[in-house]
Amino acid sequence: MIPSAYRSACLLALAFGVPLSLLLACASRRLRRWMPALFVLAPIPALMAALCADSGSMLQIGNDTLALTFTLDEPGAMLLGVAALLWSACGIYAARDLRERADVDGFIVCWLMTLTGCIGVFLAADVIGFYFLLATLSVGASGLVLQGKGPDAHRASAVYLGLTLLAEGFLLVALILLVQATPDGSVLIRDAAAALSTSAWRDVTLMLLLTGLGIKAALVPLHFWMPLAYDAAPIPAAAVMSGAVVKASVIAMVRLLPFDAALPDCGFPLAAIGMCGALYGVVIGITQLRPTVVLAYSSVSQMGFVVAVIGMGLAAGDDTTPMTAAFYGAHHLLVKGSLFLAVGVLMRTGHRCLWPMLIPAAVIALGLGGLPLTGGALTKYAAKDLLGNGLANSVATASSVATTLLMLHFLHRLRENIAKDVQARAPSVLVWSWLAMALASLAVPWMLYLTVPIDTLSAALAPSALWSALWPVLAGVVLAIVLHRLRQYLPRVPAGDFGMAFGHMQGMCVAAAKAASRADAFLRRWLVATIALLLVALMFGWAAVNY
């Protein structure tokens, strides 16, 4: 028998290696044509690894001085498994979608790059490998946004890439501080996280880490890239981005932050920002008309909620936080991905075949708000321990109400955006991939809940639990009806809300750049440059004096 450590290492190697080799194979034009057919198979090794590899198993490539390390811990395995499911289903959708595009090479390369980066980020165990794969993921994702057909694709891609590189700048400094805090300079993430709570630079590191990861998790106020990107990207790309790509920041937070010691002065502000984001996302989301933008704001809201849960866990020093946050993230991943696919399918469906498509969408959308017996209710039940009984719990309940409201608004907008032709039907491949994802988002949370296990079945099915999940949904329905009556009084807010105000700063940046050009032209005149040389000699003469 193959020893299980060896088997796990092989599974990890295949999980990462298969998408990577497909990406490298894209260099050949002939092989590139075959790639869309392989989209569905590429994430399967990752799914196998998530199901079968032992927790804590490691794969190390390199020697003692510097090695690329992959590992699979429990939160990572959960997120990797559901992400692989999403990538497969969206791969089927994308392969069918690509038949209608003229220029597919860019999409194929960016898709495989994002897939490699996504799987790599969930598996990465050392700081440098994590940074590299995160960069690959971000560049690939911005390339996917660029593949969108609308005129806004360029701007959305530029904003996304700019903010993501800014986040990675913060993250790089934080990672270096983490490595410096470890006793022997180890680059492994688990050593860094263990050393963080006792590090001398703890506060600065946490601030930089949370800023960088917060931008990638679309924490308000730096969230405005999300509506722009998800609206501009093609549907399968948006599904995969809103599902899997954004969970990279969740897994990073969960692995890097210290949950062994209570840090209330860091955790509570984080939770507050998260909750503000959760409510803000809904407030702006209900003013939007395009279903993809509404889903993007829902993602802003849900990611805010996850971050709030992590914040509360950080404040209390609770080490069940990683599993809870990962569980919540996994459910959101499945639901959001399915809903994006639903948008794509329903855009091509006419009135005739509407209801078979719309009912599953309604069920899982309401599940996000916490409809009893759906995965959403389970995740909210699992998170209630962390949120406690005070203000955080009330805000969380308000968030459930708000999410239900937003989801009903989404369903309404979805219905308004169906195909004009009454008889139209979406291609069956697309429909089946969407229905498979919908089924997965109903079934998989229950499977995770029972097999991991998170808690007991009876606790989840207790009447008090069911009622506490049901009444926010009912309140949300009532609010939605009120909103529907009053909808012409809602203001028109552009997608990306106040991020658009940064556009006005563009004038300032252009003026500053022109000033730099003029300064450069001035300094490059012979007269100025030679006098500058003599002045530099004098300045060094003054600066070198050292008594």
Binding site: V510, K514, A521
Partner: protein
């Protein structure tokens, strides 16, 4: 005033005049001559050091004299290269001055791209 101080002041004057000429003149040949003036000033400094560092019985320290000769040859080669380039420039354009003050041709000037 000793001879060392006198020659030192001469060297300083040469370097000063040369710098002025290099900075202010637009014509390339005059810049080259100014560079040579600076060079003479610096070489004079070397000669003064040779004189100051002379051991008993020697007129001057031989090492700086060797440096001096090498440096003169290098400056000579530099002047030759510069003259060749100036001649070529004159043949191409008919003028031997630095034209645009920032050295970039008109077609290269940056346009604001947005």
């Amino acid at each position: 005033m000793t001879s060392t101080t006198f020659f030192g002041l001469c060297a300083a004057a040469l370097v000063g005049l040369g710098c002025y000429g290099l900075i202010v003149n637009a014509q390339l040949l005059r810049k080259l001559l100014a560079f040579n003036l600076i060079g003479h000033g610096v070489f004079l400094v070397c000669a003064i050091i040779a004189h100051r560092g002379a051991a008993d019985g020697l007129g001057g320290d031989p090492v700086p004299q060797a440096l001096l000769i090498t440096a003169i040859v290098v400056a000579f080669a530099a002047s030759a290269l510069a003259v060749a380039l100036i001649l070529r420039l004159f043949e191409e354009t008919g003028s031997a001055s630095l034209t645009r003050s920032d050295g970039l041709a008109k077609s290269d000037t940056a346009e604001q791209e947005h």
